[in-house]
Symmetry: D2
Subunit: 363 residues, 4 copies
C-alpha cells in the first residue's frame, strides 16, 4: 500500500476503474498498488460518489498509495477528455449496464477489460437466453476477445475489448481445453463440482451472504442453472469441435476467497491418466501462473490465496477409465481482477506478471 | 445438560462408553443427556483416566447432568460385573483395538454398538486390504449387523453387535440404495463428491487439522483411496445385486459439523428424475429422520446441524439422462453418535427417536 | 424437531410469536420444540406473511414438529379472539414498533415477554435519550418487570409484561450485581470489554454483516455509545445504590453465537478475589443455569453454545487490588430467546428449566 | 512468488532463516519473495531437514521464486563458511534453544534478527522468572537491541543483534510509549484486553489449536500470567520512568492473522482525549506503517491483514477521564516477520519499506 517505484524500462499505464466499490474493484486497486507502472486516474461508484475510496474500503484509509487515489465519482461525471487520457479502462459493472456503457466508449482511444459477463458469450442468442435480455451491441461482441490469458494470449495482445472470464470458467477451462483439444477425454461426460468462497456473491447486502448464513456449512446453488455453465460449454465446445453440455454444480462454502473444482472425466479409449498429466504439464510448463502438481498431491485453495496462480492435480480414479482433475484458483485474483490485470499487461506490452508477483498468503 | 425426567413407560437403559474422550464420545453424552431413559454407568479414556469428563470436555464441567457422570477410567479397570450390569456398550475406539476389545466382551449380556470401522465390512478380506491387517474375529463379523437404521431396522432390533455406519457411507447409501434396488439408476457410473467438516478428523492433535490449516480453504484428500469407498460399495453392491465401484472424493472444509454429498448418477433407460423422487419420497415418507426436499430446493448442512436428520434434494441435470442428488447430514450425529443412539433405541425396544428429538441448531 | 411428549403434571401453554422471522424468533421455536408443554398458536412476519416458517428457516421445512407450526401471518391479521386464546406472547419486534403493539394488547388476558429494548429502561427519559423518541406508554413501563430471571424471579412470577434483558446486559449484570450489592468492588471503575457473535446484528441484510466482512477479523463498534450501556448501568446503579457509569466496549467477531465479557474491576478496600468468588458461588450455587468455574479456569463461549447456561471465571490480576471476571453466554439463548422461555416458565408456574435442558453443542 | 527484479540502487542482502518450518518462517519467505534485494541462502528445519520448503508449505511447491529456495537442512549442517557468507540471519527458534545457538554465532560477520523472546528482556532476572531458566548469555543480552522499529530506529541501525518484539507488545507499546513519555496518561491503571488469531499459537500440533476447538468461539488464556506482560511492562516502564504493572488479558479467537488490543487508560489530570490524539498523530505522521484513524473510526484487524501496518483509533470514554485506544496489527507481519524484515532493512541501510509495500488483503 505504498507507492512502488516504477520500472523505467516500461511506460506508465493510465487506468480507470468503473464500479470500484465492489470486491473486484478493491482487488484491482490492491494489485495495481504493487504494479509500479500503473496510475489510477479515475474510479467510479454510483452510490458512493464523492467519497474517498478509503471510506468504502477502510484498508485504503491510510498509507501513501491510498492517499494518491482519486475520489470516487459517478460514471456520468467522466468527461470525454478523461476517457481519452486513459490507456485502459476496467469495467466492474453489473451485466446489461455494462453493454450500455461500453458501447459508448471511445474504443479507438481506450482499451477495455470488462469483468462482467456481458461480452463473454460469442453467441448473442445464448447471451439473451441466459441473461434475460437481448444483447445491446452485437457488433461489438464480434470483436470482443475472451481473455483466458494463457490460451488467448495472442488475441488479447491485439484486442481493444477483452471479456475477462468468469471465475468458475477460468478454473474449469484451463485444465479441460487442452485435454479436449488433444482428444484425451470424452466430450460428453464431464462433471464439474465447484466450491466457491463468498466473495463470489459480491458485496451487495443479501441475507444469503450474511456471516451467520454462510459460516459452518455448505450448500449447492444454481444447480443445473448457473450462468457460468454456458460460458464453460462455449470454451469446451470450441476445443472439442463438437457441442458439449457439462454438468456444473457450484457450492457456496465458508471462505472469502477461493474456488476448488473437482472435475470428473472419462478417458478417451486407449488413453491414460499419464497422458492427461503429460498434456497439461507440457501445455503449462512455461507458464508463470499455471502449475501441475506431482502425482498424488491435491491442491488446496488456501495455497493460492491472494495470488494469481492456478494449481491443478490429476488423479487416477478407482473406477476404470475415469480420471479426476482438481483445479484451484483465488476467485478474486485469477478468477477476476488478477486475470484482468494480466490481460492489461498483455494488451499494453508490459511483462505479463507485473503487479502479480505476490506470493500466496497462507496461513 | 440437566437431568431430563425419564419416561415411565419405558425401562432405564444402562450404558457404557469406551473411548469417551473423542468427539463421538462427547456427542453420545450430549444426546444421552436429553434421552431421559439412559443412565451412563461407565466411561473410559486411556490417557485421561482418573479425570472428570468435564476436564476433557469443559461443557460438562457444570450442570446437574454433568455432575452425575462417572469418572473416566481405563478399559482394563472395568470389572466383569460392571460389564454385565450394562445393557448397551458404545465403542468409540480406534480400529484394530476395537476388534481386540469386542471379541472379549460378554455379548450374551451386553449389546454393543461399535462406532469404529471394525465390523462394517462383511468381507474380511476387504477389511484386511483396506485396514492393513487381518480381521481378528471373523466369526463375530458374521453376526455383526450393519446399522444403517432406516434400511436395517429389523436386523438391528435383533442384533447383539451393531456396526454403526461411517459418516460418508450414511449420507451416500440412504439415497442410493433404494434407487439401485429399484433399478432407477445405472450401477456403473456413480460419482460421490463429498464435503466434510473437521470433526471427521477426530480430536487427535495433527497439523493438518489445526485451525490455521483448515479455515478459509478447501482441499480433497484420500482421492480414490478413502476407506469409506469399500463401505459404500458394499452397500450399493448389495442393493444392485452386481459389483459396484464408485468414485468417492472427500474434501475437508472449514466447518465443525456436517457432510454434504453431491452425487452424480445416470438414469436407467426410460427412467426420469421424477421416478427417482417418487422412489425416495415413498421410501422415506414415514421416517422421522429422513426427508426429501421439494423440487428445486437444495439442502444445506447447517439446517441439520446438531440433529439426527438426513435431508436430500433431487435435481434434473442439463446433461441428458443424468441426475444430481444432494444429501446432507451432521456427521457427528446421524453420521456417528446419533445413529448409534438410534440403533440403541431399536435394540432396546425404546421409541426410535428418543434423545434425538433435538431441532437443528441454526444459526 | 419432533413432537416432544408433554409432561402431564403441567398444563399446556399456548404461545404466540410476533416477529418470528428473525434469529430470536427461530431460536424461540427451536427451544419450544423441545419444551413439550408449549403449543405455538400463531407466528407473525410482516414480509413473509403467508409463507411457511420452513421457507424462511429451512431447518423447519421438515420433521413432525415443523409440520404443525402455523403459517406466518401479519400482526394486523390477528383477531382479538386469537390474542385471548394465548397464554403468553413473545414480542421479537423492533423497538418503537414494540411499544405501539404492546400498548394495545389485552394484558389482562395474555402475558407478554418482550425481547426488544422497549420496556427495559425504567426511566423513560433515559429511554428517549438513547432510542431517539419519547416512550409511547410510560404507564405500561411502570409495571414492566426486567426479566433477569435469576435476580428477579419473584417479580417475574407475578408480571404481566416482562422486559427480557439485552444480551450484553445479561452477561454483565449476573456477575456484577451481587458483587456491587455486597460492596466487594468499587462502583466507579468498571470496564466491560465484550465480544459478540454476529447473530447479535440480526438477520437484516447489511454489508457490515456479510460473511466476507465478518470472517477472520475483529473490530470494536459503538464505542462509548452502545445502547446496552444505559441498560447495564441501570442494573448496576440499582445494586450499588449510587449512580454508575461503566465503560462498555463491544466487539464483533466471527462466530454466530456467543458473548464473552472480560470485566475489569477494582476491589473494595480490604476485599480479595476470594471474597468475590465466595459471593458469586453462594449467589448461584442452586441455580441450574449459572455456574462459577474453579480458580484458574477460563470460560469459553463454545462451551455454552446452544444452551441457556452462564459460566463465569474469576481471576486475580497482577495489578494490585484488581480482579478480572469473565462471563460467557450464548447470546441467542440466555441472551435472548432462552431467557425469554425461562421467564415464560416462571410466569406460568412451570419448572423453570423446561425446554432449556439442552446440553451445549460442542464441537 | 516470482522473482522480483532487484533494485540496482541497493546491494543484494544474503539471508538465512533458522527454524523455517513455522508460520513466522513461512511469512519471512513470503515477504522476502517480494523484496527483490534479498537472497535466501539457507533455511533450516530440524524435523524436515532434507525436504523442499514446498513440501512443508505447499504454497511454495510451485512458481519461479519457490524453485530457487534452498533445501531445508539441520542447524548442525551449517558450515562456518555458510554463516560468514550471510549478511543477516533470522532466528525463528524456540526460546532457550535460541540463546544456545545465537551465543555461538559469529556476530562480527553476520547480523541477527531474533524472533524469539530470548533477547527481549533486558533484565536477565526477569527473563529467568518468566521463562523458567537462567539466561545463557547475559553479556550478549546487554548488546541486544529491542527492535520496535519506529521507536528504536537509530539503535537498530547500529545493532548486531536485534530482539524482534513480541506480537502483543508491538501493538501495545506503539500507542502507549509516546503517551507515557508525554505524561498524558496515568501509569498505574492500564488495561490491555487483547484478541489474537490462531497463528499466534504456532504450527505445532496441539488439541487446543485444532479447527474444531478454535472456530466459532472465544476464550481468554494466560490470564494475568502471559509472558508478554513483562515485555510490555519493560517498554512502558522505560517510557514512564517509573515501574509499571499492567493488566494484560489475551484471548484466542477464530482468525488466522491479526491482533486487536483494546486499551483502557486514565487521562493524566488536565489532559484530554484530544491531547492523546495530537501526541500520537504527531509521533507517527511520517511513519509509513503506523496510522492514526480519524475520530470516531474503529480499526479492524482485517484491514491490515497480510500487511505491515499498525492502525490505531482513539476514543473518549463515557466514564470521565478515561480513554480507549484500539490498536490493530497482523501478528505474523508487524507482530513478527514483517517487523523482522523492517529491522533487516534498517540494519542493512536499505529503504525501510522494501518488501513490505504489500497492501492489506481484504476481503
Amino acid at each position: 500500500m505504498m507507492t512502488v517505484e516504477p520500472n523505467p524500462k516500461y511506460p506508465i499505464v493510465k487506468v480507470g476503474v468503473l464500479g470500484a466499490s465492489g470486491y473486484t474493484g478493491a482487488e484491482l486497486v490492491r494489485l495495481l498498488a504493487s504494479h509500479g507502472n500503473a496510475e489510477i486516474m479515475l474510479m467510479t461508484a454510483e452510490k458512493n460518489a464523492g467519497a474517498d475510496f478509503g471510506s468504502v474500503f477502510p484498508q485504503y484509509a491510510f498509507g501513501t498509495f491510498a492517499k494518491k487515489l482519486p475520489k470516487l465519482i459517478k460514471i456520468d461525471e467522466i468527461t470525454p477528455a478523461q476517457y481519452e487520457e486513459l490507456d485502459v479502462l476496467f469495467c466492474c459493472l453489473p451485466h446489461a449496464l455494462t453493454q450500455e456503457i461500453v458501447m459508448k466508449l471511445p474504443l479507438d482511444k481506450v482499451k477495455v477489460v470488462d469483468l462482467s459477463a456481458d461480452f463473454r458469450l460469442a453467441d448473442v442468442k445464448t447471451y439473451a437466453t441466459w441473461y434475460g435480455h437481448e444483447h445491446l451491441c452485437p457488433d461489438l461482441q464480434k470483436e470482443a476477445v475472451y481473455g483466458l490469458t494463457e490460451l488467448m494470449r495472442e488475441q488479447v495482445g491485439k484486442a481493444r475489448l477483452v471479456a475477462n472470464p468468469g471465475c468458475y470458467p477460468t478454473a474449469a477451462q484451463l485444465p479441460l481445453i487442452p485435454l479436449l483439444k488433444s482428444g484425451l477425454i470424452l466430450a460428453d461426460d464431464i462433471i464439474i463440482d465447484a466450491k466457491s468462497g463468498a466473495t463470489g456473491a459480491g458485496r451487495a447486502a443479501k441475507v444469503g451472504a450474511l456471516y451467520c448464513e454462510v459460516t459452518e456449512g455448505i450448500h449447492a446453488y444454481g444447480v443445473a442453472s448457473h450462468r457460468h455453465a454456458p460460458e464453460i460449454e462455449q470454451g469446451l465446445t470450441g476445443a472439442a469441435k463438437k457441442d458439449i453440455v457439462v454438468n456444473f454444480t457450484p457450492h457456496l462454502m465458508p471462505m472469502s476467497r477461493g474456488i476448488l473444482e473437482s472435475i470428473y472425466v472419462k478417458l478417451a479409449p486407449g488413453k491414460s491418466v499419464a497422458d492427461l498429466r503429460e498434456c497439461l504439464e507440457k501445455q503449462y510448463e512455461d507458464e508463470p501462473f499455471v502449475h501441475v502438481l506431482p502425482s498424488g498431491v491435491a491442491p488446496q485453495t488456501r495455497h493460492v490465496r491472494g495470488s494469481n496462480h492456478v494449481v491443478m492435480g490429476i488423479f487416477e480414479d478407482r473406477v476404470p477409465d475415469r480420471a479426476i482433475i482438481i483445479s484451484v484458483i483465488d476467485n478474486v485474483v485469477k478468477g477476476a481482477s488478477g486475470q484482468a490485470l494480466q490481460n492489461m499487461n498483455v494488451m499494453m506490452g508490459l511483462p505479463e506478471t507485473m503487479g502479480l508477483e505476490l506470493a500466496p498468503v497462507f496461513p
